[in-house]
């Protein structure tokens, strides 16, 4: 359930800080930022039915992706032949 898509905040309305524009690889939509008051221009947020429900923590993302890549089999998979 709950299709959520990560996108980048490219604008925040000057009169309404809850109203942002989020870019998804070139596709933009107004998004309600009421639930991510900590999100800033340039941040990535997870958007669900027009609402940002979570700010993407870039550092955590980088750290955990590195963990993932470091999983023993992963490197093998990356280097190994396509089956």
């Amino acid at each position: 359930m709950c299709l959520g898509v990560p996108g980048r905040i490219v604008a925040i309305d000057a009169d309404d800080p809850w109203l942002g524009t989020v870019d998804f690889d070139g596709v933009r939509r107004p998004v309600c930022l009421a639930y991510t008051p900590e999100a800033r221009l340039g941040d990535h947020v997870i958007v669900h039915v027009g609402f940002a429900i979570s700010r993407v923590d870039e550092e955590e993302a980088a750290r955990t992706f590195a963990v993932l890549r470091a999983i023993p089999g992963a490197l093998a998979g990356e280097l190994g032949p396509e089956r």
Binding site: M1, C2, L3, V5, F24, D25, G26, V27, R28, R29, P30, V47, V49, G50, E82, R83
Partner: protein, 348 residues
């Protein structure tokens, strides 16, 4: 409200008694309507081809019609006028014919701004001019407010086919290479994004364009080795491949990683929970080409602008007739079915 009168009657449980929006989506429901209602009533039996071939003396005339009801009427990359021209040209081209003339039938809603009609007609003329296929006859009907939604356009075309050429939905053969002429899903997402009620803003442009010259190049390169051609319009690549596999009694395996999808189009598909394989195209084609000719055809396609991004995306197999499978990103396999009904954004 009189349209709701029917609701006071016992409501049928199964919605096969009324036409549903999904019946027009180019997917399973559409196929059912044709198979269960229209084809039997016409007394025919039918493989679904894009166009019919009529022999007039020794000449083979290819003949095709399509109605265009796109909302909004103007969208990035095109409008209902150019779409109607290109769509019918393409259906004729898919049978290997050279389109020679078009007819244009308008249904107009009372109250339509004349400026819009002029703009659409100018677009028709520009598209016909660019394609080199003249509009030679037409018809205009006006219906009461509410009787149509602005403008609908039906174009019909005739084309002439050289002897010996016969690409057909029934001629896919195991081993054929599945070629696609360009990035998919652009048209459907351009139209969806242009609908203000979903509130999307994107640079996605429809791929609407004529493909007859590309087809001419392909046939010139490989002739009868081009077994089947299809423009994957409503219902997208998935429906087109299912129809071809069904009509030829073959299976098809597609490689998901090889499918060309533009970045923004892919993003729009993600947001709306839509599979690009089910999204409409109006400017690309699928070709089933004998393996020994595939590379040559691909190279020839890439020399034309509308085929510049052509690529091989799969193979025809001898698996269960009508079965289309996709080799997924992670190397697994899934069945690719036709779109069931209308494409509803999956947002939750």
């Amino acid at each position: 409200m009189s349209t709701l009168d029917a609701l006071t009657c016992p409501v049928p449980h199964n919605e096969t008694e009324r036409v549903l929006l999904g019946h027009g989506s180019g997917g399973q429901l559409m196929a059912e309507l044709l198979r269960d209602v229209i084809t039997p009533a016409l007394g025919g039996s039918g493989v679904l081809e894009d166009a019919a071939v009529v022999s007039v003396g020794s000449t083979q005339i290819v003949f095709s019609t399509d109605g265009f009801v796109v909302t909004p009427r103007f969208f990035p990359g095109g409008d209902i006028g150019s779409l109607a021209v290109n769509g019918t040209i393409n259906d004729i081209a898919m049978r290997g014919a050279d389109p020679v003339a078009l007819s244009l039938a308008y249904l107009l809603e009372e109250g339509l701004p004349v400026a819009e009609l002029r703009r659409i007609t100018t677009s028709v003329a520009a598209a016909a001019g660019a394609a080199g296929v003249p509009v030679v006859t037409g018809d205009t009907k006006v219906v009461e407010r509410g009787g149509v939604d602005g403008v609908y356009v039906t174009t019909t075309g005739i084309g002439v086919r050289a002897p010996g050429v016969d690409p057909s939905a029934t001629r896919c053969r195991p081993g054929d290479v599945v070629l696609v002429s360009g990035p998919i899903a652009a048209h459907g997402m351009a139209v969806l994004s242009a609908r203000e009620d979903l509130g999307f803003d994107s640079g996605i442009r429809s791929d609407s364009r004529p493909l007859h010259r590309l087809v001419c190049t392909m046939l010139h390169t490989a002739g009868a080795a081009v077994h089947a051609l299809r423009d994957p319009t409503r219902g997208g690549v998935a429906s087109a491949l299912n129809e071809l596999a069904e009509a030829s009694g073959v299976s098809v395996e597609l490689d998901e990683t090889a499918l060309p999808v533009a970045r923004q189009v892919a993003a729009a598909c993600e947001i709306l929970g839509v599979d690009p394989l089910h999204v409409a195209n109006e400017g690309c084609l699928i070709a089933m080409v004998a393996p020994e000719s595939a590379d040559r055809v691909l190279a020839a396609m890439r020399r034309r602008p509308e085929g510049a991004a052509a690529c091989a995306v799969g193979r025809v197999g001898d698996g269960p007739a009508g079965r289309v499978t996709v080799r997924t990103l992670v190397g697994s396999t899934r069945v690719l079915d036709m779109l069931v009904g209308e494409q509803l954004p999956r947002i939750c």
